[in-house]
């Protein structure tokens, strides 16, 4: 690689640096800007006079006496009970991830090991299900859920998210299990294990890298979902994303925009940490389907 880099003409080096610099600004700047702005007052974050006020915090100084203020965060987390939404999100994500992975590992393993034609049909129908926009499914749930009084509960939403998550989870785990040699569990079965024992004692110990990656994506789906959570959860069971959206309705009142801004930063922070710690797994997961199969 280094010999190639040395041969690279100067013009191309500059072009590469230029593209990368522009892309880095596009990718990172909006987040830094919003993070910085969330500690200012509304007059600074949306400055009529001069956009640079958002950096210097002119009005923030005159209104609160300090360069930075946590008012937005206080308003969102305490006054508007964002902590409750955060707690609901944690519950929903935890259960969606655990249940999805339990169902997904069983199904994905079977699909990877079966050589019959119906396994292919199963995967193909999962692909079709994956393409369904969640909101179209929601319009199918609502009449039934109202009828049977299932609407509004966290448990209903968890099961729905697990189901919507299944096609993706199955495809991903299926391709991970394909990479585990079939001889491994077959030899265990020759030694007298049943299929389930082979799965339990031989496959489970070696499947964790794939499961962790798939778990990350299940988490993302549950955490990021708006269509399902906003339609199916009652107000007190709301998760963070619908809560952020509900802040928008009340933007007219002064100060409330900053609640939304700080809520947005609060929602983003865990995702930042997740990408930071699991970058390798995420990249691996995104490319698993494409590059290997």
């Amino acid at each position: 690689m280094s010999s190639k880099a040395q041969r690279q003409p100067v013009a191309i080096t500059f072009l590469v640096i230029g593209v990368l610099a522009i892309w880095m600004i596009l990718a990172a700047f909006p987040f830094l800007w919003t993070l910085w702005g969330s500690f200012k007052v509304e007059g600074d974050f949306f400055s009529k006079a001069n956009w640079a006020n958002a950096l210097t915090g002119k009005l923030t100084v005159s209104e609160t006496g300090a360069r930075v203020t946590g008012d937005g965060y206080y308003g969102a987390w305490v006054q508007e009970k964002f902590w409750l939404a955060a707690w609901n999100s944690a519950i929903v994500c935890f259960f969606v991830v655990t249940i999805s992975l339990t169902l997904g590992t069983l199904g994905g393993y079977a699909l990877a090991r079966s050589t019959y034609r119906y396994a292919f049909w199963f995967l193909l129908s999962a692909l079709i299900f994956r393409a369904m926009p969640p909101i179209t499914l929601v319009s199918g749930y609502l009449p039934v859920f109202f009828q049977w009084n299932l609407w509004g509960h966290t448990a209903t939403t968890i099961i729905v998210l697990v189901a919507i998550n299944q096609p993706f989870t199955l495809w991903m785990l299926h391709s991970f299990f394909k990479n585990i040699p079939a001889e491994l569990d077959e030899s265990a079965m020759v030694d007298g294990c049943t299929r389930f024992q082979a799965f339990r004692n031989v496959i489970i110990p070696v499947m964790w890298p794939g499961v962790i990656t798939t778990g990350l994506f299940s988490f993302l789906l549950a955490y990021n979902d708006f269509a399902v959570t906003t339609m199916l959860l009652s107000k007190e069971n709301q998760t963070m994303i619908p809560k952020v959206a509900s802040f928008l309705g009340t933007t007219q009142t002064k100060g409330n925009v900053m609640f939304a801004v700080s809520a947005v930063v609060s929602v983003t922070a865990p995702l930042f940490l997740m990408v930071l710690f699991f970058q390798r797994q995420i990249v691996g997961g995104l490319t698993a389907g494409a590059v290997k199969g």
Partner: protein, 340 residues
């Protein structure tokens, strides 16, 4: 794997998908051919000193009983599909006859809610998808040319726009293009128009939504291409170089053919995801200028009166759209499997 263990292994996830994906699709189909019951009207005769009068009132009890007995509503056939909020068949015919030019016809069509939604959805899908592929490729080539040491941080920041919640990511951008935000103010300065507002203009709103779409999805194409670039056959590349291929020819004849199968994969995923564009419209509060099919369903379902039948009809039309988009891929996958 034998049939029986296979059955037990896939049963839980098959059940989940059957109950919460397949049945809802059926339920949507059924719901879309029904409409709410009309209110039961009863005629009451009231007599007083001046004689008897007949008046009609809504029989609340009977209406409630009827609704409880048959919650689906009454069968309506395809009327919901044909009405003004969906395919608007009568209105389209009328427009067709009255309008003098294609342009006029087009603009009248975009006043109809369904055609407005599908117009934006399709434009968004078919503009954003190729742009995502192009930008993703450029970024991947650039990152691949960077020094090994800084690639980690480069990938970290590149992933952010994709990992972020769509609703939240769109909001961040929306606040920046606000007339009082940094991008909005810059645009006003560049255009020399202090009243320029992205929110108030239909073309600018469309462009902003698509810019968001590309920003959000380009990292996905980038990551897939970047992984593909790691597996380019170095011998082929070396051979091309020996034969005198310059940098561009190497990309054109070695790298692009190598990445072509990945492009199909990215295009498929992007077509599916872009067709369901929804959250950015909520974040940008753009419904006056741009709506999508998903947004139309969301709008019917929310609010005081939940228009379930209307939402169901739009859902069915959306599912048909998805099926059309997906069909080439399905046919191809099926043929490939057949060959094996």
């Amino acid at each position: 794997m034998k049939h029986k263990p296979f059955f037990w292994f896939v049963l839980p996830s098959a059940l989940a998908m059957l109950l919460f994906i397949f049945f809802p699709i059926v339920s949507v189909l059924v719901q879309s051919v029904h409409v709410d019951h009309e209110q039961v009207i009863k005629t009451v005769e009231t007599c007083d000193l001046f004689g008897c009068k007949e008046s009609t009132t809504v029989d609340q009890g009977a209406t409630a009983a009827l609704r409880a007995e048959r919650p689906l509503g009454q069968f309506a056939g395809l009327t919901t599909y044909a009405d003004i909020n969906h395919l608007a068949i009568n209105k389209v015919g009328e427009n067709w006859q009255q309008s003098n030019s294609w342009r006029e016809f087009g603009s009248q069509m975009l006043n109809l809610p369904f055609y407005k939604a599908i117009g934006f959805t399709l434009t968004f899908t078919f503009i954003v998808t190729p742009l995502v592929i192009i930008f993703g490729f450029i970024i991947a080539v650039a990152v691949n040319a960077a020094v090994q040491k800084i690639r980690g941080p480069l990938i970290f920041f590149s992933l952010l726009p994709m990992m972020i919640t769509p609703l939240v990511g769109a909001l961040i951008l929306f606040w920046m293009v606000d007339a009082r935000g940094i991008i909005g103010a810059t645009l006003q300065y560049l255009a020399g128009d202090p009243d320029l507002s992205v929110k108030a203009s239909t073309p600018l709103t469309w462009i902003m939504l698509m810019v968001y779409g590309v920003w959000h999805a380009a990292p996905f194409a980038f990551i897939v291409y970047y992984a593909g670039l790691q597996s380019v056959n170095q011998d082929t590349l070396e051979a091309a170089r020996v034969d005198g291929a310059n940098r561009w020819l190497q990309i054109r004849h070695v790298i692009i053919p190598h990445l072509l199968p990945l492009t199909t994969f990215i295009a498929l995923m992007q077509l599916m995801d872009n067709f369901r564009v929804f959250e950015p419209i909520v974040s940008f509060s753009a419904e006056a200028h741009a709506t999508s099919l998903s947004w139309a369903i969301f709008n019917d379902l929310g609010g005081e009166t939940r228009q379930l039948s209307s939402a169901a009809a739009t859902s069915v039309l959306t599912i048909i759209g998805v099926a059309i988009l997906l069909s080439p891929v399905l046919v191809r996958t099926w043929r490939e499997f057949d060959r094996k």
